[in-house]
């Protein structure tokens, strides 16, 4: 646990969008998936997930609906909207640019 990274400001939104881009997921699944695909390297404070989800929903980037899970529980599923997809693309390319630029600077040193 000690070698996990804290998430840089603003990147949580991007990761959530990416996670729900494939299929609709409920909150717990999103948190699980985030940890899996980041190979347990990223520390997502599970509590901060929900405010982020609600914020994204308010922006209209994801939308939510209640559905029944495989073991017959009601859960709130989130999925990407059309404008969410655009946002994801924009944020992904912005992130790539930033990462490349930071990489360049570090290589110079």
């Amino acid at each position: 646990m000690h070698d996990r990274l804290d998430l840089p400001q603003g990147t949580l939104d991007l990761l959530i969008l990416k996670t729900v881009a494939l299929e609709p997921l409920h909150g717990w699944a999103i948190s699980e998936r985030l940890q899996q695909i980041s190979r347990e390297a990223v520390q997502v404070q599970q509590g901060s997930l929900y405010p982020a989800l609600h914020r994204l929903e308010r922006h209209g980037w994801i939308k939510a609906h209640w559905a029944v899970t495989s073991n017959n529980r009601r859960a709130k599923y989130y999925e990407l909207t059309r404008s969410g997809r655009k946002q994801l693309e924009a944020e992904t390319s912005a992130w790539r640019k930033l990462a490349t630029a930071v990489g360049h600077v570090l290589n110079l040193g």
């Binding site: 409920h26 909150g27 717990w28 948190s31 404070q45 599970q46 509590g47 901060s48 929900y50 405010p51 982020a52 609600h54 914020r55 929903e57 308010r58 922006h59 209209g60 209640w66 529980r73 009601r74 859960a75 709130k76």
Partner: protein
Amino acid sequence: MRSDFLYRLRALFRRRAVETELDDELRFHLEHQAEKYRQAGLPPDEAARRLRLDFGGPDQIREECRDALGIRLLQDGAQDLRYAVRMLRRSPGFTAVAVLSLAVGIGANTAIFTLIESTLLRPISVKHPEPLRLLMWREQDGGWTAPNLGYVSPTLGTIYEQRMKPGQAIMHAEFSPPLYQTFRRDNTVFDPLFAFKELGRVTAVMDGNAELVNCFLVSADFYRGVEVSPVMGRAIGPENDVRTPEGRVAVISYEFWTRRFARSPSVIGKTITVNDVPLTIIGVNPEYFTGIEPGANFEIWAPLNLGLAVSGRSYLDEARVWQIPVMGRLKPGVSNARAQSEMDALFQAQVDATGTLVAMLKDPAKRPRFILQSAARGMDYLTDRYDRPFLALLSLAVLVLLIACANVANLLLAKSAARQREISLRLALGAGRWRIVRQLLTEGLLLASMAGVAGVIFGYWTRNGIPALLATPWKPSPFDTAFDPRVLLAAVATTFVTGVLFSLAPVWQSRRVEVNEALKEGGRGTVSLSKLRIGRLLVVLQVALSILLLAGAGLCVKTFTNLRNTPLGFRPEGVLLFTLDPPLLRYPAEQIGALLTQLQQRLDAIPGVQSATFSVTRAGTRATDIGSRFFETMGIPILYGRSIDEHDTLNGPPAVVVNQEFGRQFFQQENTVGKTFKDSGNVLHQIVGVCADWRFERLRDPIYPTFYSALLQSMLQAPRNGRVNFELKIAAAEASVEASVVKQIRPVVRSLDSDLAVADVRTGVQQIEDGLSQERVLAALAAVFGGLALILATIGVYGVMAYAVARRTNEIGIRVALGAQPGGVAWMVLRETLLLAALGIGIGVPAVLGLSPIADHFLAPGWTGSFLYGMKPNDPFPIAVAVLMLAAAGFIAGYFPARRAARVDPMTALRHD
């Protein structure tokens, strides 16, 4: 953006549901996570610990989620509002004054905007007026013009001419029959193209009852063009626009159907006799359709081809008569530019074909121009007549509102200065500056909303005031003051703008509050004086605006009284007038004399009538045909020679009476008895008498040279346009005598011919007053608004000074303790007040001098260059009165604070803090 707002609204109003969902969601997560730890083999207490570590406190998360939901702003807003309500309730006096003064301002604007909306903005009542175009042409200044022009609306009485001011081009909306036919035949851009003609008043007889109604003639395609279909029966169509019996049909208005036929379905097929022409009723217009002339109502709609039979006038037959208005509905997809260029080509070719004034047509600067105009307002007589006075009224009302705003801003400023300690405390406790600004804005908007509601109610009550002052008592009013949603929208916008406007001052001031400084001062500092600077600026502004309003009111009132005091040259008191329209078919030229003389004798016999006479104005001339004893009845002195009497008949030598101006202009002397002259019809007249110059209807016009001939002699040559005026002189100008005579008029006329309808019964005084209605409204409203401005300015000055004295009690106490005399202290305060007033006057007077000539020119009626009558825009008298009134107001407003200052007891004042 919209979804964002909806999301927040849901979060706010379905709070319970949203919270439950949130709880469900979090619980679901926690259970799954716990399950996961259990499967990983963690003991329960360790799992619970890890869970809390991962997740954080549930309450904290809920709060963060609420933030993310975006209801924080709205919750804060509600809190601001509650706080604002509390603030306003704590000072009811301030709230009352602020709300009242704003309500008056908003109310005045609402009432006037109601009038503007209904009179000048509302489109005609057809379903799709957008593609409708009115065909017009512009006569260049001094350029080519068409023969026999002039479209006088018999109902609204205005010549359809736009901006007929010196040096400006004139617009015409009428065309000749060949042009109308060419347009109809050759155009490819309109479907359909249709013509119409307002016939005006006609005598309609149904079931033996005669009534004067308004008649509108329409061409074959009119109903298709305006897309109106009757609620019952059928519309006038191509089969009806003929001169065979199929053309003797009429469609009646819904209002007429209700009034005269009690909405009976059997009205279809009934016969209605219009000016002695029997017409079959074939349809009833829908209720919403009142025609294509805003402000006018027509009971009877008949085919255009009936014009000749019903009125004796021909619009469709003579190539040299330009009298037909034409409208068209643009075909879908046809641009305005294309239609304009195609119609222009047709128009120009036809103008060349008239062969008149050919030399002018060769000069491009003198050729007429064809113009397509939007017909969303139809044939719009109202705009031309009322746009300028109404805009003037609106600007006056806006000025009042601005003054009220300044007043409220000032009051708020004084209050917020007192709240500086509170504001700095809130800042110190960590409130954002934006939050403070929002609080102040909320208070302002709350005040404005209260005033807005009161103002709309006030405006709704008073919305009929101006129409009542403007309308002619004996005619239907052209104003419809039904409340429109647009008016409400405008009121809401006004309210919002004023709210923001007067909140700006305290907001601006709060910007400068320094946390530490204000707290240190203990809320009662010496800095308050410099902080009142905005307040003083506002007071100066108020005074300046008030000068503007008061001087304007003075100019309007003076113009009105000048007009009323214009010598008339006759006595309108005790004169009764009414009108008859004897149909030409029944009363051709050779019989009209007998009818009128007989009627004159019977009217003479009514008890209370001293003498009766009649007169007919000849169309298009300054000649009047009169009955015997005309001058005696009207009380116009005969200066030389004799009057027209009962001996001036066809058997006697032709005799005319002229006015003084006639002699001055044509014979260079006033006494022209015995002279002869020829009129434009080459008829020789001999002058037998000279009457004093007099005027009746247009008091602003100069006296024109006029001659009066005996109708019994001239009726055969002079073209008559139908309308006959009767004048009765009654024995005593008392209401009771007047009323008993009026009651007798109708039976007397009916005893002679039961199909003759009496119209426009009025007194001579009413007639003159009616000619002054616009001036009266402007004078009355400007005076009321000026008075309001004066009161508001006085309150404003008083408020600022009273506040300043209250804040300076300390300082004044020290001054008195150090030996200042009460008189000196009082003078110090009073001097400051007078200085503020003087500054305002110093700004206001040049503003008046600069603006009044512009306003005067703007309001000038018709072709006169000036609205003011009997004075110049820079007339010193009204300006001086305004200055004196405001100086007095300043003195009164300053007197009470000054007296208070003089009575400050140094001991109390110093202990006070």
